[in-house]
């Protein structure tokens, strides 16, 4: 750098490197921009407009947000979404971690069980929802038949009961998602050095102590990642609920993404629908930022 004669050449080389770097991410970026970035920005703009996808959009300022605040459907959906997240995130996390630790041992047939647990994740969601509906059917479903057989006279109505519909949906979604997060945890477990366990064993640590003081801290980065992915996916939940209950009975399982879908795609009120999706975006963003902060504090 000190010799002035070399400077332009270096600069040229670094510029050409930047170009090459850009060209490598360009195909991906173009797809991302066309299919995600531009629509997201457009939806931000749309949330201040009144637009039915055909006529000229009309500027309405904060009207869409005002309508949302006074709309009972929005608050019901927000509560239900939070309920779903509070149930789905910890249960999936615990189940995924539990099965990962269990299936990390050298047992016979461990591959089979790993595959079996991962299977729901790659199965067609519609089929999953229909099968769960049948299992949980109030009169003829095997779940309630079993409950009756063990002496519970009045088993819950599951997807046909306002009280039990959300727990039913949560159980189905935990079952569906746990395989994927279990794989993430299994990968995380491979990164914990075996020497630590050996040393702990030599020191006479119990199984629980090894799990509590070696496995859990060792998995912290994985847990952080899983937590974020789970939170985002719980707030975005749509397909499973749409097929299993369609938000019913009544509005017992109506979630935010369904409100967005109904208002936008079905009713053609794209402005209002975008406003709701902006609120959902802000909620998820806030939670993610808080999680990042907490994680940072834990690290230091």
């Amino acid at each position: 750098m000190s010799a002035p004669a070399q400077a332009p050449a270096t600069r040229r080389r670094s510029r050409s490197r930047t170009w090459i770097g850009w060209s490598f991410i360009l195909p991906n970026f173009l797809g991302f921009a066309a299919l995600t970035l531009i629509p997201v920005i457009a939806s931000l703009a749309l949330s201040f407009l009144d637009w039915d996808s055909y006529s000229t959009p009309r500027w309405v300022g904060l009207d869409n947000f005002e309508r949302m605040i006074h709309n009972d459907n929005f608050w019901t959906a927000l509560r239900n979404t939070a309920y779903y997240a509070v149930g789905h995130v910890p249960l999936t996390l615990a189940a995924a971690l539990g099965f990962a630790v269990l299936l990390n041992q050298k047992l016979k047939g461990v591959r089979f069980f790993r595959t079996a647990l991962f299977f729901p994740y790659i199965t067609s969601l519609v089929a999953v929802a229909v099968v769960w509906n049948m299992l949980l059917s109030p009169d003829l479903g095997p779940v309630n038949q079993f409950l009756r057989a063990i002496g519970i006279d009045n088993p819950p109505g599951w997807t046909t009961s306002t009280t039990w519909a959300m727990p039913a949906v949560i159980v189905a979604s935990v079952w569906r998602d746990l395989g994927y997060y279990m794989i993430l945890y299994l990968a995380g477990l491979q990164t914990i050095p075996a020497e630590l366990y050996e040393a702990a064993e030599v020191d006479g640590a119990t199984g629980w102590q090894r799990f509590r003081y070696i496995t859990l801290p060792g998995l912290r980065p994985t847990t952080f990642f899983v937590l974020i992915m789970l939170t985002i996916s719980s707030f975005k939940v749509f397909d499973l609920i749409q097929v299993m209950t369609e938000g019913g009975p009544g509005r017992a399982t109506l979630v935010l993404s369904q409100v967005i879908y109904r208002e936008g795609i079905v009713q053609g009120r794209f402005g209002y629908s975008s406003a709701v999706s902006m609120v959902l975006f802000v909620i998820v963003l806030t939670i993610t930022i808080v999680q990042f902060r907490l994680q940072k504090r834990n690290e230091t």
């Binding site: 050409s16 996808s53 055909y54 509906n133 059917s137 009975p249 109904r262 079905v266 009713q267 053609g268």
Partner: protein, 422 residues
Amino acid sequence: MRRHLVTTLAGAAALALLTACGGSSPEPAADGPQTIKIALWNYATTPEFKAIIDGFQAANPEIKVEPVDILADDYAEKVTTMLAGGDTTDVLTMKNVIDYSRFGTRGQLLPLTDEAAKLDPAKYSGLKAYDLEGKYFALPYRQDFWVLYYNKTMLKEAGVPESKLQNLTWADYAALAKSLTKGDGANKQYGAYQHTWRSIVQATSAAQTGGNLLGGDYNFMKDQYAMTLGLQQSGVLLPWATASSQKVSYNTMFSTSKAALLPMGTWYAATLLADTKSGKTKVEWGVAPLPQLKADGKVTTFGSPTAFAVNKKSKHSEAAKKFVEWASSEAGATAVAKAGVTPSLQSQQILDTYFALPGVPNGDVAKKAFKPDNVVLEMPVSDKSSDVDQILTEQHELIMTGQKSLDDGLAEMSKRVKNEVG
């Protein structure tokens, strides 16, 4: 050299993206034989579309008709998206009146007011539904309405004469259904099957009591709900909760003789005709008028028409108009009736054509069923219809699953419609 390559690549990629997003190329001018495209659903299983297209092409050999087949469940959303993207598909089928009013008020359809004025509203059942403040943007070719299907064999076994079904009140229907229920467990035969749709209770009571489904006061539904809930409680109907969670199909319930009586739309007759012909079902079926509040011999039922409209962006609007007019004409109606579907144009001649089809139930009961005195529109058209529809559906679920008592459910229905939509 390398840098040059990169820029070229980037440019090419950008260009490809641009051309991919760019609009379609202009179509050639409309000379000689024209081709019009028509948006419709489930072409293979909806026989009247082919019947209309074939009939129209035979009458107008200079125009070729090309169907654009769309999945029935996605039809409304797909057409909305197509129109928003400036699609030029010439003829659009209006699957229901609420969607029609949306397209019409947005100005996406070509006005057909003059063409509609040529039709006699007394003969065209459902024509009035397309009146948008004095303007028409579609002409109906088909009108479905609700009737009562019955299983002849099960009636005979119970010793009930079919003529009894000619003048049924809802109280008679309930008693009859109770007497036809027998068996237990897997062999149970239900007296009746009422599908999970809200219309079966709500639109029936609106049509027969004169209640307004958009009105915000829903006490007029009380009797119809009380009867339905009573039948459900006494095991005459398959419980709503089971039907909903198992996604039970009404066709299975009726065509496998699991239920003796089935209130359902006239479209089901076409399915039964086709399935009987192909041997898919062996059920002996008949059609009776929908049960009434009072046994005064008059039949009031509900239903909804289906229509064709012309896309405002159509490049062959004259040919498209010709098609729409032909479909609702006498010739079109005959083609529709021959396909086993009830056309909008209702004359004795058309009815005779329908009854002459092999397999169509004949006799006085069926003839009365297919000639109702009054067909009330299933859901009134307004910009509030779809919002109200959502609330009515949600409350229907709560009442039918017993999550809300009938009184609470109806009170909440009224309250929600007034607060959230009114």
